[in-house]
Every structure is written in C-alpha cells, then in structure tokens.
C-alpha cells in the first residue's frame, strides 16, 4: 500500500472500489456535513429545525422508495399506503390505552419504530407476489390502486384513525423515559426532534448504502436493467423483487411512523396519491438510484413550500394570500410539476447529477472545459 501514497484514486481491489467512503473528498465532505448538521440546532430557529426534521424523515421514506424504484426498477406509486401503515401502527402502539382511538400505551420509541417498519414490510411482502407477475406500468397502476383502497379503509376505520377531518395524535416519541416532544432543561422540543431524526436518518442511510453496494444491491440493479437477463445469469427474480418491496416498505413504515411526530397530529386524508407523487418527485429530482440523491431530493421538496412562501417579497406580482390572481399556493403546486418535467428532460440524474458535474468541473480546474 505504501507505493500508492499520493495516488488516492488507484484501486487495487474490488473491495476498495466499493468501500463505503472510497475517496478522500467523500470522507471530507461527509465529515463536514455531519459536523454542520450537528451544530445546526444551536444556530437556527426552532421552526426551521422542525422543517429540517420533517425533511430528514421524508429522506428516510425517499431512500425506501429509491430502493424499490431507483435500484430494483419496480415502479411504485403506492408509497403513501406503506407510509400510512407505518404511521397507524406506531400511533396505535404508542397511543394512550383509554383514549378515543385504539392505543396500547407502549411509548418506547425503538419498539414502535421497529414494529411500524415490520408491519409495513409485511404488507410489502403481501403485495410483492402481484408485483412479481406484473411489469412496468401495470405495476404502477396496481400500486396506485393500493393507495385508493388504503385511503378507503383508513377513512372508514374510525376507531383506529379518528376519521377524516378529525384524525388522531401521532406516535409519542419517548426514549429511555425522556419525552422528546416536550422542552426540558437542556434542549427545546424542536432541537431534540431534529437530533433524533438526524441520527435515525444517518443510521438508515448507512444501512441502505451498505445494502445497495452488496450482492443484494447488484442483484437489484441487474433486475432493473434487464430482468430477463438477470434471471438467465441466476438472479432469483421472485426473491429479489419480494426483498426489494419488503425493504422499501420497511423504510416507508419507519418514515410514516416519524412523519407526523413533529406536528403531533394526523388525519387519514394525508395518505393520498399526492403524497406518493411527492415521494416519486423526491427520488427523481434528487437522482434515482443514489442514496445521497434521495436525501437531497427529500430536503429540497420539503423546503420548497418554505422557499415559495418567501417569494412574494421578491416578486410582487405573486400574491402572498389565497385571494390574488396568481398565489403562492398555485405556484407551489405548479413547481412540483414543472420541476419533475424539467429535471427529467434536462438532468435525468437529478440534483445528484448536478453535483457530479460541479465536482468534475472543479476536479480538473483550471483545465475543465
């Protein structure tokens, strides 16, 4: 290894090439971002922290969708359904036993978080056999049907969900006897939730990254690129499609369980087709088939409403309230559509692709062209 000093990008083995942080700049960037994220709670206001915490949770969900859609190539419009399963499992487990809605009073965070993930994964495995038989757009429409059926069930099952327009409290985040959603002597609630979500995001992102650079991840990519060819070279299609759905649903369940913890309350109407489309947008705008892309996309989509809210001060023809000709709410909705179209046409690799281009420009600077 001695002779390789000063040649950091010379790899002498496959393991080195596929290592977790395989280049020096990657290590530097990751370390820097980690430090930045950890000092953030002491720099910015609580409402921004809450927004970022929601963004981190969305990122966990987006990583899940990216595993099944970006890596394994199985288009799923049913992510909202799995998010809902996770959200209701967690809320029901941790809710008070004597409330208006079903509750079991198990408030310990690791328990309900794992349970939410596992129940969602179970539903993923149940759906997968249909997915194994179907391809491409047939699958997209079936998963879309799942969202509608789920919406119906959650709307009617009022003893679990509280019913449309009423809703129920979200899961209670209690870790080692400390309620994380209440201020205490050291931290405010927003700071605690931010740190909790950030730590969970790092854990799940590292797990996902390790999964996709393993044998399983390569099998997923083979199924995505050409499933028939993959099965010819010995990839068990059924097994890997079921696995992709299970892992993806697990992530969705975890994200769903946490998604409403910051707000504290949710309603069965939240889990509609729009939510699925938002997650698809996160994956595509961030960059399909990359973990860091999914995180970037999730943060971008979560922060987008906040950014558009600020626009009326800069562009006076946009009305800040709901009465004008062209309001921020319309702008926000249009932006989803426009961003999806523009990214897919101009930069199919998403934000991750832009980052790669910027990186390559500076890597060869001043001789870049």
């Amino acid at each position: 290894m001695k002779g390789l000093k000063g040649r950091p990008e010379l790899y002498t083995s496959y393991g080195q090439d596929m290592a977790f942080l395989n280049t020096r700049p990657k290590r530097a960037w990751s370390g820097g971002l980690l430090v930045l994220a950890l000092v953030m709670p002491f720099m910015i206001t609580d409402d921004l922290l809450q927004l970022l915490a929601t963004g981190f949770v969305a990122a966990i969900g987006a990583i899940g969708l990216n595993i099944v859609t970006g890596y394994a190539g199985q288009v799923s419009l049913g992510h909202a359904f799995f998010l809902a399963i996770g959200a209701y499992t967690a809320a029901a487990l941790s809710g008070p036993e004597t409330g208006r809605v079903i509750g079991f009073g198990i408030t310990s965070l690791p328990i309900w978080l794992l349970a939410a993930g596992l129940v969602a994964a179970l539903f993923g495995v149940l759906v997968a056999p249909v997915a194994v038989r179907l391809r491409g757009l047939y699958l997209a429409i079936v998963t879309l049907g799942l969202v509608f059926l789920g919406e119906h069930v959650f709307r009617e099952w009022t003893s679990l969900t509280g019913g449309p327009g009423v809703g129920r409290p979200a899961a209670v985040p209690e870790l080692f006897g400390v309620r994380l959603d209440q201020d205490n002597a050291v931290f405010t609630a927003a700071q605690q939730l931010y740190l909790l979500m950030f730590v969970l995001l790092v854990i799940f992102a590292v797990l996902a990254r390790n999964l996709v650079r393993s044998r399983v991840g390569r099998a997923f990519a083979a199924v995505r690129d050409r499933d028939l060819a993959a099965s010819v070279i010995g990839v068990d299609l059924t097994r890997y499609k079921v696995l992709a759905f299970a892992v993806s649903s697990f992530y969705a369940g975890v994200a769903g369980a946490l998604l409403f913890v910051v707000n504290g309350f949710f309603d069965p109407g939240s889990f509609n087709l729009l939510l699925s489309v938002q997650y698809i947008a996160m994956v595509l705008i961030g960059g399909a088939g990359t973990i860091s892309g999914a995180i970037m996309g999730a943060l971008f989509i979560t922060l987008l409403p906040r950014i558009t809210r600020e626009l009326p001060t800069v562009l006076p023809f946009i009305s800040g309230d709901a009465t004008g000709v062209f309001t921020v709410f319309q702008l926000e909705a249009v932006l989803y559509g426009v961003l999806i179209i523009v990214f897919l046409i101009v930069e199919p690799r998403g934000l991750f692709g832009i980052w790669v281009r910027v990186r390559n420009y500076w890597r060869t600077w001043p001789f870049s062209y």
Binding site: L134, R135, Y138, L144, H152, E156, R226, I280, V334, I341
Partner: protein, 295 residues
Amino acid sequence: MDEFLQSLIRGLGTGSIYSLLALGFVIIYKSTQVISFAQPAFMLAGAVLVSYLSPAVSFLGAVVVAAVVIAVLALGVERTVLRPMVGKPVFVVAIITIGVDVVVRVVTNAFIGLDVRQVGDPWGLSTVSFLGAEVQERYLVMIATTAVVTALLFVFFRYSRIGLAMRAVAYDQEVALAQGVSVGSVFALSWALAGGLAALAGVFVATGAGVDQQLWIVALKALPAIIIGGLESLGGAVVGGLTVGVVESLFGTYQNDFAPWLGPNFGLVAPYALMLLVLLVRPYGLFGKKEVERL
C-alpha cells in the same frame, strides 16, 4: 327490478365516460407504449372550457370547440414535453406526464375558483321513463354518444389511411418507419385524439352536478378500466370502462344490504378491488396480449 335497472343504466352511463377516457389511454399506449397520467387534467380543462363557452356559442358548439382546443393543447404538450423523451424508459415518460397533469390542473383550477361551475347542458337532472324505470336522461345521452364515438373510432382505425398508419406504428414502430409512416405525426395525432376524448368525457362528468376542483379524480377510474380490459385493446377499453361503471353503481346500490362491513362508499373504490382480482387471474387483463420476451 326498477332499482336494478336504474342502477344498471347509471352504471352504463358513468361507464361510458370511463370508456371514453380509457380509449384515450389505450390510443396513447398503443402508439407510444406510455400511460399518460395527464388525461385527468385534459378532462378537467375540457369541462371548464365548456362551462365558459356554452353561454356564448350554445352547449353543443361549446363541446365541439372544447374538444378541438383540448386536442390541440394535448398535441402541443406532446410536441414540447414528450417529444424530447422519445426512446427514454417508459416509466420516466409516464412520470413526466404526471408533471404535465399537475401543471395543467393547477392552471385550470385557477379558472374554476372555489365555486361549482355549470356546463349549461340541456339535460340537468331531469328523468325519463325507460323500459318502465325512471332514469336520468343524461345517462342515456352518454351511452348513445359513446356508442357513436366508439363506432367512429373503429371505422377510422379500420378503413382510413391514417388509422392504418396508427395500427402499423402500434404493431412495430421501426418497421412502420421503414414503410414511410411518419411515426412522429402518429404520436402527435394519438395525443390529440386522447385529448379530445378526455374533453368530451369531462363534459359528461360535469353534466348534472357541475365542475369543481375535485372532478379530476373521476378520470383515475379509467385506469382500472384499461387494466381490466388489457392495455393494448381498444375493445377492452370499452368493455373495461363499462364494467367499472356498472360495478361501481351496483356496489353503490346494493352493498349496504349484503356487505355493510365494507363501509359506506365502498362502491367508489370497488373498481380498484376488481382490478386486483382480474390481475390475479389474468396478468395482462381480459383482452391484453401476453408479452413475448427475448434477450
């Protein structure tokens, strides 16, 4: 019996709306192998356009103008947004159409506002006696119009030169190109046809109750219809659409008596459940072709 007949006619009426939409989906799918999720937006835009035009140029005139305008709009979308994506994975193109749907729908919603707009149709909710049952006139009109439109489409595909070109493209794009068929114009034309059909469907949905911002949800019912019928079958689209309409309507009428545990309004999601059932038995729908694959 009267209740059954009423329910059946209502189902066939709404089913013919789904058939029109499903025909649009299938026409686009056959020529471009893409499911266009932009159909709901075109449907909504068509209905809104008619609601603005009908006081000026009568209801019938408004419908014709709206169908043509939406067809041109759809053609424009195909030219500007979809054309650069030819050859890209179908999934990516399908997602782009979701983007188109969102944009068109938000713009259209600005023209609807918070009120319900009336399309000014001559039928309203008035009923007529049909085989001894009181049924709404508009359902009979929908069934008749859809029958005529479907017949015209079949004649068009069967006997016209352009229809032949479209069938050739659906069969094999490269071979069609080699025979001198302009594949690009076929793509554009199929989007225009689908847009026009969606506009017509939108007007029918809006008869009676009017147009509001939630109207687009109806168009998604055409998705189970095309899956049930099979993605590449025009006949399947019609059969699928009618099936979905009738199932929805019969569930709406009778489900409270025989299966109350499914919850009220299960009829609205019954098509999706039916779709799952059909797919478990026939993964390519009732009339779809099984894909032959090779490496």
